[in-house]
Protein backbone atom coordinates (compact mmCIF):
# COMPACT_ATOMS: atom_id res chain seq x y z
CA UNK A 1 0.00 0.00 0.00
CA UNK A 2 1.39 3.44 -0.93
CA UNK A 3 2.12 5.99 1.78
CA UNK A 4 -0.70 8.31 0.71
CA UNK A 5 -3.15 5.41 0.60
CA UNK A 6 -2.00 4.25 4.04
CA UNK A 7 -2.57 7.71 5.50
CA UNK A 8 -6.10 7.86 4.15
CA UNK A 9 -6.72 4.30 5.31
CA UNK A 10 -5.77 4.99 8.94
CA UNK A 11 -7.31 8.46 8.95
CA UNK A 12 -10.65 7.07 7.75
CA UNK A 13 -10.59 4.39 10.45
CA UNK A 14 -9.74 6.79 13.27
CA UNK A 15 -12.15 9.52 12.15
CA UNK A 16 -15.04 7.06 11.82
CA UNK A 17 -14.15 5.43 15.15
CA UNK A 18 -13.82 8.75 16.95
CA UNK A 19 -17.06 10.12 15.51
CA UNK A 20 -19.05 7.05 16.47
CA UNK A 21 -17.38 6.83 19.88
CA UNK A 22 -18.33 10.43 20.70
CA UNK A 23 -21.84 9.94 19.32
CA UNK A 24 -22.20 6.72 21.30
CA UNK A 25 -21.16 8.49 24.51
CA UNK A 26 -23.51 11.46 23.92
CA UNK A 27 -26.46 9.18 23.21
CA UNK A 28 -25.68 7.14 26.32
CA UNK A 29 -25.71 10.32 28.42
CA UNK A 30 -28.98 11.51 26.84
CA UNK A 31 -30.50 8.08 27.37
CA UNK A 32 -29.31 8.22 30.98
CA UNK A 33 -31.13 11.51 31.58
CA UNK A 34 -34.25 10.15 29.85
CA UNK A 35 -34.08 7.09 32.11
CA UNK A 36 -33.84 9.32 35.19
CA UNK A 37 -37.04 11.00 34.04
CA UNK A 38 -38.80 7.65 33.77
CA UNK A 39 -41.47 6.84 36.34
CA UNK A 40 -40.09 3.85 38.29
CA UNK A 41 -43.58 2.34 38.41
CA UNK A 42 -44.17 2.61 34.66
CA UNK A 43 -43.79 -0.33 32.30
CA UNK A 44 -40.47 0.35 30.58
CA UNK A 45 -41.61 -1.43 27.40
CA UNK A 46 -43.70 1.58 26.36
CA UNK A 47 -41.22 4.34 27.19
CA UNK A 48 -39.03 5.95 24.55
CA UNK A 49 -35.95 5.91 26.78
CA UNK A 50 -36.11 2.13 26.74
CA UNK A 51 -35.36 2.14 23.02
CA UNK A 52 -32.41 4.49 23.21
CA UNK A 53 -29.99 1.59 23.77
CA UNK A 54 -31.35 -0.10 20.65
CA UNK A 55 -30.30 2.83 18.48
CA UNK A 56 -27.01 3.02 20.36
CA UNK A 57 -26.26 -0.61 19.58
CA UNK A 58 -27.07 -0.07 15.89
CA UNK A 59 -24.60 2.81 15.93
CA UNK A 60 -21.91 0.50 17.26
CA UNK A 61 -21.93 -1.37 13.95
CA UNK A 62 -21.67 1.69 11.76
CA UNK A 63 -17.98 2.46 12.26
CA UNK A 64 -16.72 -0.01 9.67
CA UNK A 65 -19.25 1.00 7.05
CA UNK A 66 -18.64 4.73 7.49
CA UNK A 67 -14.87 4.21 7.58
CA UNK A 68 -14.97 2.52 4.19
CA UNK A 69 -17.25 5.23 2.84
CA UNK A 70 -14.77 7.89 4.01
CA UNK A 71 -11.94 6.00 2.36
CA UNK A 72 -13.83 5.69 -0.92
CA UNK A 73 -14.49 9.45 -0.91
CA UNK A 74 -10.85 10.37 -0.36
CA UNK A 75 -8.91 7.77 -2.30
CA UNK A 76 -9.43 6.32 -5.77
CA UNK A 77 -7.29 3.25 -5.14
CA UNK A 78 -9.62 0.33 -4.37
CA UNK A 79 -8.95 -1.86 -1.36
CA UNK A 80 -9.54 -5.54 -0.89
CA UNK A 81 -12.22 -7.03 1.29
CA UNK A 82 -9.59 -8.15 3.80
CA UNK A 83 -8.21 -4.63 4.07
CA UNK A 84 -11.76 -3.36 4.53
CA UNK A 85 -12.11 -5.75 7.44
CA UNK A 86 -8.93 -4.31 8.96
CA UNK A 87 -10.19 -0.76 8.58
CA UNK A 88 -13.53 -1.71 10.12
CA UNK A 89 -11.89 -3.49 13.05
CA UNK A 90 -9.67 -0.48 13.74
CA UNK A 91 -12.67 1.86 13.59
CA UNK A 92 -14.65 -0.39 15.93
CA UNK A 93 -11.91 -0.65 18.52
CA UNK A 94 -11.25 3.11 18.36
CA UNK A 95 -14.96 3.72 18.93
CA UNK A 96 -15.04 1.62 22.07
CA UNK A 97 -11.84 3.07 23.55
CA UNK A 98 -12.99 6.65 22.96
CA UNK A 99 -16.47 5.97 24.37
CA UNK A 100 -14.89 4.30 27.42
CA UNK A 101 -12.47 7.20 28.03
CA UNK A 102 -15.29 9.73 27.71
CA UNK A 103 -17.42 7.73 30.17
CA UNK A 104 -14.54 7.68 32.67
CA UNK A 105 -14.06 11.45 32.29
CA UNK A 106 -17.80 12.02 32.66
CA UNK A 107 -17.90 9.93 35.83
CA UNK A 108 -15.23 12.26 37.29
CA UNK A 109 -16.94 15.47 36.12
CA UNK A 110 -20.42 14.38 37.11
CA UNK A 111 -20.13 11.56 39.67
CA UNK A 112 -23.82 11.83 40.68
CA UNK A 113 -24.95 10.88 37.17
CA UNK A 114 -24.10 7.19 37.39
CA UNK A 115 -25.05 7.05 41.09
CA UNK A 116 -28.50 8.42 40.26
CA UNK A 117 -28.94 5.99 37.37
CA UNK A 118 -27.92 3.14 39.65
CA UNK A 119 -30.43 4.15 42.34
CA UNK A 120 -33.18 4.73 39.80
CA UNK A 121 -32.69 1.37 38.11
CA UNK A 122 -32.59 -0.38 41.49
CA UNK A 123 -35.99 1.15 42.26
CA UNK A 124 -37.36 -0.10 38.93
CA UNK A 125 -35.99 -3.58 39.58
CA UNK A 126 -37.46 -3.66 43.11
CA UNK A 127 -40.87 -2.59 41.78
CA UNK A 128 -40.85 -5.34 39.15
CA UNK A 129 -42.10 -8.92 39.57
CA UNK A 130 -38.67 -10.49 39.22
CA UNK A 131 -37.67 -13.26 41.65
CA UNK A 132 -35.26 -12.12 44.37
CA UNK A 133 -32.33 -14.08 42.94
CA UNK A 134 -32.76 -12.40 39.57
CA UNK A 135 -33.10 -8.99 41.23
CA UNK A 136 -29.77 -9.57 42.97
CA UNK A 137 -28.16 -10.59 39.70
CA UNK A 138 -29.35 -7.44 37.92
CA UNK A 139 -28.24 -5.32 40.87
CA UNK A 140 -24.72 -6.81 40.61
CA UNK A 141 -24.73 -6.21 36.87
CA UNK A 142 -25.81 -2.60 37.30
CA UNK A 143 -23.20 -2.01 39.98
CA UNK A 144 -20.47 -3.35 37.69
CA UNK A 145 -21.55 -1.20 34.75
CA UNK A 146 -22.28 2.06 36.59
CA UNK A 147 -20.38 2.33 39.86
CA UNK A 148 -17.18 0.33 39.40
CA UNK A 149 -16.02 1.95 36.15
CA UNK A 150 -12.45 2.40 37.33
CA UNK A 151 -11.90 -1.18 38.46
CA UNK A 152 -9.36 -3.16 36.42
CA UNK A 153 -11.78 -6.01 35.84
CA UNK A 154 -14.42 -3.63 34.44
CA UNK A 155 -11.87 -2.00 32.15
CA UNK A 156 -10.63 -5.43 31.03
CA UNK A 157 -14.12 -6.67 30.17
CA UNK A 158 -14.92 -3.39 28.43
CA UNK A 159 -11.81 -3.86 26.28
CA UNK A 160 -12.91 -7.44 25.59
CA UNK A 161 -16.18 -5.91 24.42
CA UNK A 162 -14.04 -3.64 22.26
CA UNK A 163 -12.61 -6.68 20.50
CA UNK A 164 -16.15 -7.99 19.88
CA UNK A 165 -17.17 -4.60 18.50
CA UNK A 166 -14.03 -4.60 16.35
CA UNK A 167 -14.97 -8.02 14.99
CA UNK A 168 -18.45 -6.91 14.02
CA UNK A 169 -17.15 -3.69 12.52
CA UNK A 170 -14.70 -5.81 10.51
CA UNK A 171 -17.74 -7.50 9.01
CA UNK A 172 -19.47 -4.20 8.29
CA UNK A 173 -16.18 -2.99 6.82
CA UNK A 174 -16.20 -5.98 4.47
CA UNK A 175 -19.81 -5.14 3.64
CA UNK A 176 -18.77 -1.55 2.98
CA UNK A 177 -16.14 -2.68 0.48
CA UNK A 178 -18.84 -4.56 -1.42
CA UNK A 179 -21.11 -1.53 -1.36
CA UNK A 180 -18.72 1.40 -1.91
CA UNK A 181 -15.59 0.09 -3.64
CA UNK A 182 -16.04 -0.50 -7.38
CA UNK A 183 -13.47 -3.15 -8.23
CA UNK A 184 -13.66 -6.94 -8.43
CA UNK A 185 -12.42 -7.95 -5.05
CA UNK A 186 -9.91 -10.45 -3.82
CA UNK A 187 -9.25 -11.47 -0.25
Amino acid sequence: MEQHQKQIFYKSAFVAGAAFGILNFILNVINGYLTLGLDPNANPIFNISTYGPIFICLLSLGGGLVGIWLYSKNCDVPIKVGQGAGLGALAGFTMVVIAMVLELIWSVINPEFYDNIFQHMITIIENSDMPEEQQQMFTDQLYTSTKSKFSLSTIFFNLLGGSFTALLNALTGMLGVKLYINEPDEF
Partner: protein, 175 residues
Protein backbone atom coordinates in the same frame (compact mmCIF):
# COMPACT_ATOMS: atom_id res chain seq x y z
CA UNK B 1 -14.81 -31.77 6.13
CA UNK B 2 -14.09 -30.06 9.44
CA UNK B 3 -10.31 -30.34 8.88
CA UNK B 4 -10.68 -27.94 5.96
CA UNK B 5 -11.56 -25.13 8.34
CA UNK B 6 -7.91 -24.35 9.05
CA UNK B 7 -6.17 -26.10 6.19
CA UNK B 8 -5.96 -23.05 3.97
CA UNK B 9 -7.26 -24.94 0.96
CA UNK B 10 -10.93 -24.38 1.67
CA UNK B 11 -13.11 -22.01 -0.35
CA UNK B 12 -12.18 -18.97 1.74
CA UNK B 13 -8.43 -19.47 1.29
CA UNK B 14 -8.06 -16.71 3.81
CA UNK B 15 -6.78 -16.63 7.37
CA UNK B 16 -9.02 -13.62 7.87
CA UNK B 17 -12.15 -15.69 7.44
CA UNK B 18 -10.88 -18.39 9.75
CA UNK B 19 -10.08 -15.64 12.26
CA UNK B 20 -13.61 -14.25 11.90
CA UNK B 21 -15.01 -17.70 12.54
CA UNK B 22 -12.90 -18.18 15.68
CA UNK B 23 -13.77 -14.68 16.88
CA UNK B 24 -17.49 -15.23 16.30
CA UNK B 25 -17.29 -18.53 18.16
CA UNK B 26 -15.84 -16.66 21.15
CA UNK B 27 -18.60 -14.05 20.94
CA UNK B 28 -21.25 -16.79 20.89
CA UNK B 29 -19.60 -18.60 23.81
CA UNK B 30 -19.46 -15.48 26.01
CA UNK B 31 -23.01 -14.46 25.09
CA UNK B 32 -24.35 -17.90 26.07
CA UNK B 33 -22.29 -18.10 29.27
CA UNK B 34 -24.41 -16.30 31.94
CA UNK B 35 -26.64 -19.28 32.84
CA UNK B 36 -23.54 -21.47 33.21
CA UNK B 37 -21.55 -18.84 35.11
CA UNK B 38 -24.48 -18.26 37.50
CA UNK B 39 -23.86 -21.78 38.81
CA UNK B 40 -20.25 -20.85 39.59
CA UNK B 41 -20.35 -17.27 40.85
CA UNK B 42 -22.76 -14.31 40.70
CA UNK B 43 -19.86 -11.87 40.11
CA UNK B 44 -18.79 -13.63 36.95
CA UNK B 45 -22.31 -13.33 35.56
CA UNK B 46 -22.23 -9.54 35.74
CA UNK B 47 -18.85 -9.51 33.97
CA UNK B 48 -20.24 -11.69 31.17
CA UNK B 49 -22.74 -8.93 30.34
CA UNK B 50 -20.14 -6.15 30.24
CA UNK B 51 -18.51 -6.86 26.84
CA UNK B 52 -21.85 -6.48 25.09
CA UNK B 53 -23.22 -3.31 26.68
CA UNK B 54 -22.05 -1.18 23.75
CA UNK B 55 -23.40 -3.68 21.22
CA UNK B 56 -26.77 -4.63 22.61
CA UNK B 57 -29.50 -3.14 24.79
CA UNK B 58 -29.52 -6.39 26.83
CA UNK B 59 -33.14 -5.97 27.91
CA UNK B 60 -34.11 -9.10 29.84
CA UNK B 61 -37.64 -9.27 28.43
CA UNK B 62 -36.21 -9.34 24.89
CA UNK B 63 -33.59 -12.00 25.61
CA UNK B 64 -33.80 -15.75 25.86
CA UNK B 65 -33.33 -17.03 29.39
CA UNK B 66 -32.11 -20.34 30.78
CA UNK B 67 -33.26 -21.18 34.32
CA UNK B 68 -34.44 -17.57 34.63
CA UNK B 69 -31.01 -16.14 33.74
CA UNK B 70 -31.14 -14.00 30.57
CA UNK B 71 -28.39 -14.47 28.01
CA UNK B 72 -25.88 -11.65 27.59
CA UNK B 73 -27.47 -10.43 24.35
CA UNK B 74 -31.03 -10.02 23.12
CA UNK B 75 -32.79 -12.55 20.88
CA UNK B 76 -32.25 -10.49 17.72
CA UNK B 77 -28.52 -10.05 18.32
CA UNK B 78 -28.21 -13.76 19.12
CA UNK B 79 -29.93 -14.50 15.82
CA UNK B 80 -27.55 -12.17 13.94
CA UNK B 81 -24.46 -13.77 15.48
CA UNK B 82 -25.85 -17.26 14.85
CA UNK B 83 -26.59 -16.37 11.21
CA UNK B 84 -23.10 -14.95 10.70
CA UNK B 85 -21.52 -18.00 12.29
CA UNK B 86 -23.60 -20.57 10.39
CA UNK B 87 -23.06 -18.83 7.05
CA UNK B 88 -19.30 -18.64 7.61
CA UNK B 89 -19.16 -22.31 8.59
CA UNK B 90 -21.17 -23.34 5.51
CA UNK B 91 -18.89 -21.38 3.20
CA UNK B 92 -15.68 -22.43 4.90
CA UNK B 93 -16.35 -26.17 4.87
CA UNK B 94 -17.88 -26.06 1.41
CA UNK B 95 -21.39 -27.38 1.82
CA UNK B 96 -23.95 -27.09 -1.05
CA UNK B 97 -22.11 -24.45 -3.04
CA UNK B 98 -24.22 -24.28 -6.14
CA UNK B 99 -27.49 -23.52 -4.43
CA UNK B 100 -25.84 -21.21 -1.94
CA UNK B 101 -24.03 -19.34 -4.69
CA UNK B 102 -27.23 -18.83 -6.66
CA UNK B 103 -28.45 -16.76 -3.74
CA UNK B 104 -25.42 -14.44 -3.90
CA UNK B 105 -26.54 -13.15 -7.28
CA UNK B 106 -29.52 -11.50 -5.63
CA UNK B 107 -27.87 -11.16 -2.24
CA UNK B 108 -27.93 -7.38 -1.99
CA UNK B 109 -31.67 -7.29 -2.68
CA UNK B 110 -32.33 -10.07 -0.19
CA UNK B 111 -30.20 -8.26 2.38
CA UNK B 112 -32.18 -5.01 1.91
CA UNK B 113 -35.44 -6.96 2.15
CA UNK B 114 -34.47 -8.73 5.38
CA UNK B 115 -33.14 -5.47 6.87
CA UNK B 116 -36.43 -3.74 5.98
CA UNK B 117 -38.47 -6.50 7.61
CA UNK B 118 -36.40 -6.12 10.79
CA UNK B 119 -36.97 -2.35 10.88
CA UNK B 120 -40.68 -2.68 10.09
CA UNK B 121 -41.15 -5.23 12.87
CA UNK B 122 -39.27 -2.99 15.30
CA UNK B 123 -41.27 0.15 14.45
CA UNK B 124 -44.57 -1.72 14.62
CA UNK B 125 -43.60 -2.78 18.14
CA UNK B 126 -42.73 0.67 19.40
CA UNK B 127 -45.61 2.46 17.71
CA UNK B 128 -48.41 0.03 18.55
CA UNK B 129 -47.05 -1.57 21.71
CA UNK B 130 -47.56 -5.01 20.16
CA UNK B 131 -44.86 -7.36 21.38
CA UNK B 132 -43.43 -10.04 19.10
CA UNK B 133 -41.94 -13.12 20.71
CA UNK B 134 -38.23 -13.58 21.14
CA UNK B 135 -38.37 -16.40 18.59
CA UNK B 136 -39.61 -13.98 15.90
CA UNK B 137 -36.77 -11.57 16.66
CA UNK B 138 -34.26 -14.44 16.67
CA UNK B 139 -35.40 -15.65 13.24
CA UNK B 140 -35.31 -12.14 11.78
CA UNK B 141 -31.80 -11.67 13.19
CA UNK B 142 -30.75 -15.05 11.79
CA UNK B 143 -31.84 -13.99 8.31
CA UNK B 144 -29.93 -10.72 8.65
CA UNK B 145 -26.72 -12.44 9.73
CA UNK B 146 -26.82 -14.98 6.91
CA UNK B 147 -27.45 -12.30 4.29
CA UNK B 148 -24.58 -10.10 5.48
CA UNK B 149 -22.22 -12.97 4.69
CA UNK B 150 -23.98 -13.61 1.37
CA UNK B 151 -23.46 -9.99 0.31
CA UNK B 152 -19.82 -10.09 1.36
CA UNK B 153 -19.28 -13.23 -0.70
CA UNK B 154 -21.34 -12.07 -3.67
CA UNK B 155 -19.54 -11.66 -7.00
CA UNK B 156 -16.23 -12.46 -5.38
CA UNK B 157 -13.43 -13.12 -7.87
CA UNK B 158 -11.70 -15.37 -5.37
CA UNK B 159 -14.90 -17.30 -4.90
CA UNK B 160 -15.26 -17.84 -8.64
CA UNK B 161 -11.67 -19.00 -8.96
CA UNK B 162 -12.07 -21.38 -6.03
CA UNK B 163 -15.15 -22.86 -7.63
CA UNK B 164 -13.21 -23.61 -10.79
CA UNK B 165 -10.14 -24.81 -8.87
CA UNK B 166 -12.14 -27.18 -6.67
CA UNK B 167 -14.11 -28.41 -9.66
CA UNK B 168 -17.42 -28.03 -7.91
CA UNK B 169 -18.89 -26.08 -10.84
CA UNK B 170 -18.01 -25.11 -14.40
CA UNK B 171 -17.26 -21.54 -15.33
CA UNK B 172 -20.52 -21.28 -17.29
CA UNK B 173 -22.46 -22.28 -14.22
CA UNK B 174 -21.11 -19.32 -12.28
CA UNK B 175 -20.95 -16.63 -14.95
Amino acid sequence: MIHRLFSGDSLSDSKLLNGLLVGLSMVMAVSLSPPILSQISGNWVSFAYLPFHQLCHQMAERSFAVNGIPLAICARCLGIFTGLWVALVVLTIGLPYKKFMLLTRVSIYLFMAVLSVNFIQFFIEISTGAVSGNLVRYILGLGLGVHVILVIYSRSATLTNSYIHHGTASKTDIL
